[in-house]
Every structure is written in C-alpha cells, then in structure tokens.
C-alpha cells in the first residue's frame, strides 16, 4: 500500500467516494468526493499527538467494536497516508462546538475544522473496481445469538483478538469476563450455503477456520478447538494437506454437522446444539468462545457503484463477470479485481488483480488491445 502511494504515476485518493462517472473506454471522467478529514494534509506530520489527547471515546470500527478509539484517529496502524481523521459524528468541536484540544496540541497547526467536501475530477482511460467485500451480519441469523451472547464472535473479531497488535494484545480473552478462553468452537457456513440468506459458498471459511484453530492451539497448547463444518471444501494446491495437518498435528476436532442454534448457559458460556452426522446423534457442546465464520457478501454500496458505472450485478449482488473473462464487466474499459466479483482467497485475489491490471493496460495502450472472449457491452 505504501509502495503504491509512493509511486510517481499513482495518485491515491483515500477517504473518498465516487460520485459520478461519464465517458467511455479510453476516456472516462470520474468525479470523486474527497471527504473532509478536518486536517490539512500538507501540514500534518503524522506524529499522532492529537489522537493521544482527544477526550472522545467511540467503538473502534477496525477492531469491530472490541476496543475504543478517539474521535480523531488513525484507521489502523499501517494506514496510508499516515494522516489522522476526525469523526464528525463523535467530535465535540464538530457536534457541540466546544473542545478543540487537538487543535491546541497540534504543533504543525494542521487541524482545520472548517474543511468541507471537495470534488475532484479525474480523466482516466480505464477503471478497475476493487472495492472488496463485507462480512455477513451474523445477528441476522438469530439462532446463533450474535450480538446477544457476549462470547459469540465473528471471524474478523477473532482475527483482531488473536493479533498481537489487537485490543487484547493477542490473548484470547472472553469478552464476557476477560478470562482466557480454553475451549473454542468455530462454526462454519454462517449465512452462506443457505437459501434464507446467501445461497453460495463463501469459499474461504473452511481454510481460515483450520488456520484459526491452529493459531489458537499454538497460542495456548492446553486449549481445545472444535470446528463444525458442513463439507470440507479445501480445493487448491496443498489445501487438503493443510487441513489434515490441523487434524493430525494440532489435534483440532472437526465435527461434521451444521450448528443449529446457540444458547447461553447460566455462567455465560455459549452452548451449541448440533447433530454429529457421523455419529448420527443430536448433541450439545459448551464452549468458552464461539467464532462464527460469516459469509462473504458484496461490500456495502456495490449496487450504487455499479449503477454509477453502468455495470451489471449477478443475482447475489457481486459484479457480474463471465467464466471465460473473469476480470471483464459488461462495459468496455471497466474491470473487476478481487472479492467484489465473488468470494476469493488472497492468492486468487492477487492473481485476479494482476489479470485485471493487464486487461486495463490493454485498454489504455489501444494498439495492444485484443477483443475479449465473452460479454463486452
């Protein structure tokens, strides 16, 4: 990311939103709204003094609500560019008109509460849509009690918990009482392969659940891991071996059966009700912590963006592509990279993005352009 922003031929517009797109392949005009950071970007040195003194405290989006952040904050530690942002809904100065502590503390005098949204017009030859994905809101699957039972977490929350730079410093502590969790269960297919929510396979969950379970065992050798799966979908080179490693070397318990519901026992531990389909028995399991493998869903606003760009969505809301031209949309000169076109793991997304970049390069260097096989406008 840093390399990208430092590149002389790449202009990064972060904290921005596309407002309008006009023109055709080879000559697009894109109107981008740069949202106000309330910080003069050319003056800011990124020292972070302001974020330390700010009195505001709101749930941190990057840590998925597991920690608090200030009203003036960096989105995450490696955020590019290293310039903080003021949250206009939480900042006392912007909401109530009093405070201004950051302004006093800023040695560079970069804080500017009067900043407004700026429209930037850019003329480009081609567009690559790589807006990523969101995770399924597990609270919609009410049977799993996400949001109601404290020790039921989403997979991304788990990633933050197990991360050394995360809110608990890499310790797997139960959100209910802060005590370490020893018995951890991973529930797959939450919101995916389900006609009531998303009727497709999210593709990554089997693998990252195995990884998560191994991480927990590495972190605490005395812990127990249980993975509830529907089918092991480990398609890829070495994926099945990885899965087997989790089973044989790390002692992760894999249970075939989709969890039906999660309730809370008197001590606040989640209880899973499921059928072990190999043993043909309905059972329960009480764990310290349950991690839900949320489905991958189209990022919020993908539909609006697609309407602006004049490109089609598939029936799930991802951007529609053709099997034979997986990076091409139905409009010439607009390409797709990564999960906005459907669930993909990292390696696949990188390859996909490289292909999209190559296709984009073809458009701008018209001589090299070859007609693509499949749907083109």
């Amino acid at each position: 990311m840093a390399a990208c922003s430092d590149h002389p031929n790449i202009e990064c517009l972060t904290y921005s939103a596309v407002r309008e797109v006009s023109g055709n392949a080879g000559d697009f005009t894109v109107t981008v709204a740069k949202r106000p950071r309330y910080i003069n970007e050319s003056l800011c040195t990124g020292c972070g003094e302001c974020t330390e003194k700010c009195p505001g405290k709101v749930p941190d989006e990057f840590n998925l609500g597991l920690a608090k952040r200030k009203s003036i904050f960096f989105h995450f530690a490696q955020a590019v560019p290293r310039i903080p942002v003021i949250d206009p809904t939480a900042c006392l100065m912007l909401t109530k008109g009093k405070c201004g502590v950051c302004q006093k503390k800023c040695g560079a005098g970069a804080i500017d509460f009067k900043q407004t949204e700026q429209l930037v017009k850019a003329r480009v030859g081609t567009i690559v849509v790589a807006t990523g994905f969101d995770i399924y809101d597990a609270s919609l699957a009410t049977e799993y009690g996400f949001g109601r039972i404290k020790n039921v977490l989403s997979s991304l929350q788990y990633e933050r918990l197990i991360s050394a730079s995360g809110p608990s410093g890499g310790h797997l502590n139960k959100p209910s009482d802060g005590k370490p969790a020893h018995k951890i269960a991973y529930v797959l297919c939450v919101g995916s392969r389900d006609i009531t929510s998303n009727n497709y396979c999210s593709a990554l969950c089997c693998m990252y659940a195995a990884k998560d379970a191994m991480l927990a065992r590495e972190h605490d050798a005395g812990s127990e891991s249980f993975v509830f799966y529907t089918d092991t979908r480990c398609s890829g080179k070495g994926f099945w071996q990885y899965f087997e490693k989790a089973r044989s070397e790390y002692g992760v318990n894999f249970i075939r059966g989709r969890v039906s519901r999660i309730t809370e026992d008197h001590s606040g531990n989640p209880v899973m009700w499921y059928e072990d389909t190999k043993q043909r028995r309905a059972k329960t399991l009480t764990a310290d912590m349950v991690i839900l493998a949320n489905a991958i869903v189209p990022a919020f606003g993908t539909d609006k963006l697609a309407a602006m760009l004049g490109i089609e969505l598939d029936k799930f809301g991802f951007i529609a592509t053709n099997s034979f031209s997986p990076t091409d949309t139905n409009r010439d000169g607009i390409f797709v990279a990564g999960c906005v076109g459907g669930p993909r793991d990292i390696a696949e997304a990188v390859a996909h993005a490289s292909a999209a970049a190559a296709r984009a390069a073809e458009t701008v260097t018209r001589e090299a352009a070859v007609p693509a096989i499949g749907n083109r406008g």
Partner: protein
C-alpha cells in the same frame, strides 16, 4: 322340496319388515369381567329376559373403557352405550371403577356438546349377584333409547366409509417439500426439539431412510412402520433452520397419510379421543356448542364479522383438572370484541377446523371438516372471521386455500386486531402490576411470523413487566404437542425445560396465546409442582380493561 320351504321364509321376513314403525335400537354394553359380566351370566342362567338389542362386550375392568370406545361405537351406528362395573369399593383392581366414573363425567359433557343426547350414555354398577338388576337396567335403557330414535341415519353411517386409498404422487411431494435438496448438514436434527431429549429422532435420517428405502426397494414401508413418523411435533423448527428450504413437516404429513393408508396410526394422546371427536363433528349432528355464551355477551347473528371459537368448548370439560380453562379464552375474546364495539356472530353450525386431522395425516377427515366450514361461511355470508386460536387461524389462512381455491373471507387473529386497535387508541387499558413472560405459539410464530404483535399488545398494558425467555420468537420451544400425538416422557422433559426457562426469567406468570400451549404447559406445571402460573393472554387484557 327346498324351493317350497324357502318361499314361506321369505314371506315371513317380508312380514317382519312390514311394520317397521317399531325402531330397534342398537345398544352396546361394556361389562366388567368381575362383577357385571358375572351379573349378566346370572341373568342368563336364571332365564331372565332382556332385549336382544344389547350387545355385550366383556372388559377386564370398567376403568379400561376408553372414551374412544364409546365415540367409535356411536360413530359406527350404536344408538346407546352402557358401561357397567363393580360397585364403588368392590373393584377388583381397587379403583378402576372410580376412574371409569371420572372418565364418564367428562365424556358425557363432551358428548352433550357434540350433539348426542345425554340419555344415550349410561354408567351403572352391577355386582355378580345382581342378575335381576342387570336385566331390568338393560330393558329400561333399551326402551329409553328406543324412544329417542336413531342417532345417525344409515346415510350418515355410510358416508364415513372411505373409498380405496389412492397412491400419492412422489414427484409432487418432492417438488412441494424440497426433500431432495437436503444437503445432510444435520441442522434440522441439531435444532429439533424432540431430538434434544429423544436420541432416536432425526429428521435428516428420516429423509435419508425414506429415499434409500423408496429407491432401493420402491416401497417406503419400513420407514412408515417406524415410530419416527409419529414423534414429530410439526413445530417447523427444522423448516426454519434448514439451509436448503426443506419443508420437513409437510413431508411428515405425507408420510403419515401414507402410513394411515397402511393402517398405522401412531400413538394418539388421550386414547385418540381428540381425533375421534373431530371426526364426529363431520357427521353433521346438531351440536350444543354455544352454551357458554352468557347473557352479558353481545352477539349479533346477522353481523358480517364472525368469531370462530374452535374446539374450546370440547377442551373445557376434558382439561379442567390440569388447571387450564380453555373456554375462558372464548369468553374473554367476546368481552374484548364487545369493548371494541364489535358484535360478532357465533355460529352453532361451526365444526372443528381440521388442523389436528391434517397434521396427523388424516387428509380425508380434514377435507370433510373444511368443506363443512366453507359451506357454512357461504351460507352465513360473513365477510371477516376473527380467531382466538392460532391453529384455527393458520388452518383457515394457509391450509384451506391450498385445498379449496375459493375462500373469499378476511381472516384476522385477535393479536393482529388488538395491536391495530391499541395503536389507534380504541381500547383503553388500565394498570396491571406483575412480571410476565410470553410463550410464542408455533402456528402464530414460526408458521405465520407474528412475533411483534403479541409483544406490542402485552407491553401496552401499563405496569406489565414482560421478560424474555432464553429461546423466543423463531427459536421458541414447542409446548409439547400440536395435534394430540405422541405425548411421552420426552415431551414432558421438553415442557420441563421450557418451564425452567420461564422460571429463570423471574416472572410469576407464563402467558400463552394458544389453547394447546395453555393446556400442555398447565399439565406439566401441575406434574412438576412449579409455582409458575399459566394464563391465557386474554385474561390479562380483560383484567387491564377492567382497571381502565
């Protein structure tokens, strides 16, 4: 020679038939092995005459006579039924006759509501030495029934016969229930409320077994004879859980209807009397089902709004000892409707909606009742029907249109009506202190997605503290039986579990909105001796209305 003798015999028969003005009733007598049967024997050896209309069935004890025996006898053409046993205190099994007496009282009341004259059923104590008494009672009873005339006409008896069973279309079933889409993830079994306590139950395996047996042997016979077919509560928890959208409850109904064709009926609760009672209503007798409507209630026979009462008048005599009062629901509903300025009609010709027969797989019985009800709706010309029972509401709203395409009547449940009227401020509710919790009925909740209305209605009562149980709304736990089949130790465990959740909320009263929830949970609460009070929500609304 033979032709000569035959001729006068025929003539004799013709002569016998000619004065058909004297009605010969068919009387069925149940006699206990130890007293009354011996009494009948004594009457025989003493050459005491009694009418040949009486057909005697020996039972080991009068307590063995199940209400279903009596109902079946009436259905099959008996004009009178008499149960005889030892005198109180003389029972060979200590208190079998006391049980018989309790049963008799309930049954007599049910029969009265069903439209059978009380004189047609009799209970008598006859000891082994009372041969004379036996003969006198039988003669007297026969004469009494003779005067009453026949209960059912020959046509009515014949109408009960069903034709040869048609084989169902499996392709249709697969398309309608989606069983073929099963991905065998086990989510149904894990969530199944019965499977929690009964390890034999597994919806997933039931479907798998069905397909294996059907496609390898072309006959699902093995599965149909298994108890598994009858364990299902049809609460539809599995349907709601299923990621492939399989309608397992519908599949179970199909299996049951097939099993019935093979003569298998599962284990109905209350000796099958409930289902017999519902089938009895399809016979077309004039019933006495409106006795409960007292003078204070305002009903208008010409109103275009009808209040459909359902089976509450039948449940009342049967379940009073559990502490449940199903009829109070009907009385309270009328009170609330009157307070809202609605004068509904209550229809004497109404019959059971057929819900229980449908879910037990008796589709023919269901269709008969449904046809009668729809005919009545057309006859009375009502525009709107108000329901207090979620099961009746579901049956009218969802099941009737599936079988009969021409149901042109608005159906409203009391919860919807109350919610709407309270929002508009048309119902004034006073203050009512107390901690309550609410049991979602499966028909109103999971099957019709009416979750918010009951909560809004109850919360509109000031001072009412509504607590949430652990598993509510879509995850709500069934009261244990939806259609009077397979009440077992497992369902008792389920009820105990649910009552435990209710106690955990700290509430003193569990509010129900379905007569079956009220009956089953009251029964369990009585068995478990918990202090949790089970009450119908209409009682709370009426109390709050009185406080206003």
């Amino acid at each position: 020679m033979s032709t000569v003798t035959k001729q006068p015999r025929k003539a004799e028969k013709a002569e016998e038939k000619a004065p058909a003005t004297v009605f010969e009733p068919s009387i069925l007598a149940f006699a206990c092995n130890w007293c009354s049967y011996a009494g009948a024997d004594l009457a025989g050896v003493s050459r005491l005459q009694y009418p040949p209309n009486v057909k005697l069935i020996r039972v080991m004890c009068s307590g063995r006579v199940s209400p279903i025996f009596v109902l079946e006898a009436f259905k099959k053409g008996a004009d009178g039924v008499i149960i005889t046993g030892c005198h109180i205190g003389d029972c060979h099994y200590q208190d079998g006759n006391v049980k018989a007496e309790t049963m008799f009282k309930k049954l007599a009341e049910v029969l009265r509501v069903l439209g059978v004259e009380p004189e047609r059923l009799r209970l008598e104590w006859i000891s082994a030495s009372e041969g004379q008494r036996f003969a006198t009672i039988m003669t007297e009873f026969t004469e009494k029934v003779r005067k009453l005339g026949p209960l059912l006409s020959p046509e009515q008896i014949k109408a009960q016969e069903t034709g040869p069973a048609e084989s169902s279309d499996l392709k249709e079933l697969v398309r309608e229930t989606g069983v073929y889409q099963c991905i065998e993830c086990g989510k149904c079994t894990g969530g199944c409320l019965m499977a929690r306590f009964n390890p034999q139950v597994s919806p997933r395996l039931a479907m798998k077994n069905f397909f294996v047996s059907y496609f390898s042997h072309k006959q699902p016979l093995k599965l149909l004879s298994m108890d598994e077919v009858w364990y299902c509560l049809t609460c539809e928890t599995c349907h709601y859980h299923c990621p492939a959208g399989v309608d397992f409850a519908k599949f179970i109904v199909w299996l049951r209807s097939e099993a019935i064709k093979l003569g298998k009926t599962g284990t109905p609760t209350h000796g099958g009397v409930m289902h017999a009672m519902m089938e009895f209503q399809a016979l077309g007798l004039k019933q006495n089902r409106l006795d409960w409507v007292d003078s204070s209630a305002q009903v208008d026979e010409k109103s275009d709004t009808m209040y459909y009462v359902g089976c509450l008048p039948y449940f009342e005599p049967i379940f009073t000892e559990t502490g449940a009062h199903p009829l109070a629901m009907a009385r309270n509903t009328l009170k609330i409707l009157n307070a809202l300025g609605i004068k509904p009609s209550v229809y004497e010709g109404e019959v059971c909606c057929g819900h229980d027969l449908y879910w037990t797989g008796n589709i023919e019985g269901f269709k008969k009742l449904a046809a009668l009800n729809l005919e009545n709706i057309q006859k009375t010309g009502v525009k709107r029907i108000i329901f207090s029972c979620p099961e009746c509401f579901y049956t009218y709203k969802i099941l009737y249109p599936q079988f009969f395409k021409t149901v042109e009547v608005e159906t409203v449940h009391m919860m919807q009506l109350l919610d709407e009227k309270i929002k508009k401020g048309e119902l004034k509710l006073g203050r009512l202190e107390g901690k309550f919790t609410f049991q979602d009925p499966c028909r109103l909740g999971r099957l019709l997605a009416i979750y918010d209305e009951p909560r809004r209605v109850l919360k509109s009562v000031k001072g009412l503290d509504l607590q949430c149980m652990e598993e509510i709304r879509k995850e709500s736990i069934c009261c244990g039986s939806t259609h009077w089949v397979s009440c077992s130790s497992y369902t008792k465990q389920l009820q105990k579990y649910r009552l435990g959740q209710a106690v955990d909320t700290g509430a003193s009263t569990l509010l129900t909105a379905c007569p079956k929830c009220q009956i089953h949970l009251s029964c369990a609460a009585k068995d478990l001796k918990t202090k949790m009070k089970i009450q119908d929500y209409t009682e709370i609304i009426v109390q709050a209305m009185e406080q206003a």
